[in-house]
Symmetry: C2
Subunit: 449 residues, 2 copies
């Protein structure tokens, strides 16, 4: 970290002094990802100078390594021609991501200026949904025909090694381009040059349909511990491949998405700098929370007389709905997470709902008893303690039920259950909690009056 | 999915009938991870039969693919000798994980029965903290001396290919075992057999110290887009390697941990079946929530007279603390996530706190204005609306400030800021929110009286 800070000062200084020779010497041993870190500290004019000094190939690698927000900002500083020559050096998936991240007009403008070769390379990819296998795959791949030998495969690898990063497998296709096998690059070292690829390949390898959701693709990588998977179209033709480094990005994205939803915001917010845009990401959830709480206020107002009779009742409203909200969230988040990581087969999930009941009964009993003790000691009214004890138990069980079943129901309806977490579940639990509380409170008052 | 269900019935049936030949034919084409899925549906006696039928090597692969809870349960069904012969077939990192997951007595028992060769292989690993590079690395690796040629490296790969999974690099070490270089397996195809490894290797490759936290290791993989990294001891000697498939597990684990913390539970809960243990994971957070809300009840009781005077005041308590809690959570979760994914360099984080102020001012103004409108229309008291408008603004700004600064402070104190999310932040926001609300309410009452 300290080192980066030093290098950043050195680089900024060399850029200002225009000492290209010294600059090249400093940059040469750096990994593109480390050069990408420098950009954070540079002024715009220096950023452009640095990119140009790096040359197209290196600059493209660096651009691939900066985060999306910064990459977008960098491209804005370049001319269209400069952008296009950088895109040509990038793997197809990164190039397409970058084009997609640009503002629509800019993106169209760049698209129109692409060479026909580039359009052929990238055009197909731009058509896929961003969060599907097609959206994250790259079209660069190594494929040989079924008639090829190990030597042919090795020669292909040698030819492609400079242009394709992270080549893990040579795929085998038939005359129609259908994927029929896969050979790990390492295996090319284990066989005789004249052996036929069909004799050593893994037949019917695991492959990914181009339309598969990226989260499902990530699960496949996790399940089978593979580093690269071929992507096929509806007919089974090999169209690209996905490497595990992209899966790491997908996992980070999906975790951010889930976490954002629980917190009541949008994953777009992470790394976002505009206060207005952040505000917009959070506003819907805050409005949900406020509408819910206005419903609560109206519900409470229906019990105005009861509260007037016994103001003490109002003191415990935050407690009951707070515990209800926490309980609902605990149940919801666990169920959603288990669905997300694929531990959510139907049978298991219903078992989970049942288990929520058990868990909440235990917790409700324990918490209720503590509460009974504290309230009785504090207000000297065992009746009030008993009322709170039973209310807490009822409210938490209901909240846990809501928290566990709503995500399952959404999942069945093929709606991403993560949407239900955060404010939605806690507000629903709040409302139901308050209704139960007030009903119980009224009954309690009728008993002691 | 449907297919798995069918195979499961077929396998269970063949196990019952003892038709080994047919069983082998069904199992043969299955990936170990798919066989692992079958275990979920089998009875204990069938699980043991199936494991034995697979033979040690295959059974070990399957055992590596089942989740921790199931793996543990499976081992309990086997004799110590059977467990030991399975461990011998497993990569060192998986073997150690499995031993560590056993109950302490069982784990000690197995440890004592290991052969001296196995103890030499696994003993060192057992000493490392579970969530460090040492805890997730495997000791199996391919390393050649600096004097070796490409041919030597290829021969080593051929020798090890059967025993080491996911061999990505051949590492180069000096006479003292210090890591001095790395050669991707693919590069072995690109060079002449008689070239020296030192002429083609990548010098001073990125490496991981054995004590590095697994989350930091995962960041390195994400940053440099690598598939395997060497692990070195304090002196720089090569001691093992980490492959990206293990990093995927780490990321899933860390995401689960963060999500669990936000929800107010423990990541141990995911996949857990015992209601008692789940209850224990959630209880601390519920107690935190309850203690906080009891503080709130006591605070409200200090304003008993004011509430008695104007019961309406009580109606908006859930609203104000609900919005405060949501706002605090939004700020906390975003800051924690940005720290976690490494967007949290010091300068940026303080900018973030400043931005929280802006965002919350915007949101507070918008929500306050909506609330003012609704309340004035409903209760016909513009004064009440104005009081709520100003309270909401003050409370949300304070909650956002707490939400953003508490995680940063914890991070500075080297405490995992994720611990502050969930109930902790929302309860703190609740308490502060209620205090502000009641103070403002008292002032408002003094004005209208």
């Amino acid at each position: 970290m300290g080192e980066t800070t030093d290098i950043k000062t050195v680089v900024a200084d060399l850029l200002h002094r225009g000492d290209s020779k010294q600059l090249d010497a400093v940059l040469e041993p750096l990994h593109p990802a480390d050069i990408a870190d420098l950009f954070e500290y540079l002024e715009n004019v220096d950023k452009v100078r640095l990119l140009k000094r790096l040359g197209n190939e290196r600059a493209a690698e660096v651009l691939t390594a900066v985060d999306e927000h910064s990459g977008q900002a960098l491209l804005e500083l370049l001319t269209d021609d400069e952008v296009i020559s950088l895109l040509e050096e990038m793997p197809s998936d990164d190039a397409v991501d970058l084009i997609s991240s640009l503002p629509p007009e800019k993106s169209r403008q760049i698209g129109a200026l692409l060479s026909s070769a580039e359009r052929a390379r990238l055009g197909g990819l731009l058509a896929f949904e961003e969060d599907t296998a097609g959206g994250i795959m790259e079209v660069e791949k190594a494929a040989v025909r079924a008639t090829a030998t190990i030597r042919d495969a090795i020669e292909l690898v040698r030819k492609l090694a400079d242009d394709i990063e992270n080549l893990q497998n040579v795929f085998v296709v038939d005359h129609a381009g259908m994927l029929i096998g896969s050979i790990p690059v390492l295996d090319l070292l284990l066989h005789e040059p004249l052996e036929k690829v069909t004799d050593v390949m893994q037949e019917r390898p695991i492959s990914v349909p181009v339309t598969m959701d990226q989260e499902a693709v990530a699960s496949l990588f996790g399940k089978y511990d593979v580093f690269s998977l071929p992507v096929v179209d509806a007919a089974g033709r090999l169209v690209g491949r996905i490497t595990v480094d992209d899966i790491i990005d997908v996992m980070e994205e999906e975790a951010s998405e889930d976490i954002a939803r629980i917190a009541g915001t949008d994953e777009e917010e992470f790394g976002e700098k505009s206060a207005l845009r952040i505000s917009r990401a959070r506003m819907p959830w805050l409005v949900v929370a406020m509408v819910g709480e206005i419903v609560n206020a109206m519900n409470m107002s229906r019990y105005e007389v009861s509260i007037q009779t016994m103001v003490t009742l109002a003191f415990f409203v935050p407690l009951v709905i707070g515990i209800a909200g926490t309980t609902g969230m605990q149940a919801a988040v666990v169920v959603v997470r288990e669905i997300a990581v694929g531990q959510g087969s139907a049978g298991r999930v219903w078992k989970r709902v049942l288990r929520e009941f058990e868990v909440t009964l235990i917790n409700g009993l324990v918490l209720g008893t503590i509460l009974f003790g504290i309230v009785t000691a504090w207000r000297h009214e065992p009746g009030l303690g008993l009322f709170l004890w039973s209310t807490l138990l009822a409210v938490t069980v209901i909240a846990a039920f809501l928290g566990a079943t709503v995500p399952i129901a959404l999942h069945r309806l093929r709606i991403d259950p993560a949407i239900s977490m955060g404010p939605f579940i806690s507000v629903t639990s709040d409302i139901v909690g308050l209704m139960v509380y007030m009903t119980f409170a009224n009954y309690y008052l009728s008993l002691i009056r």
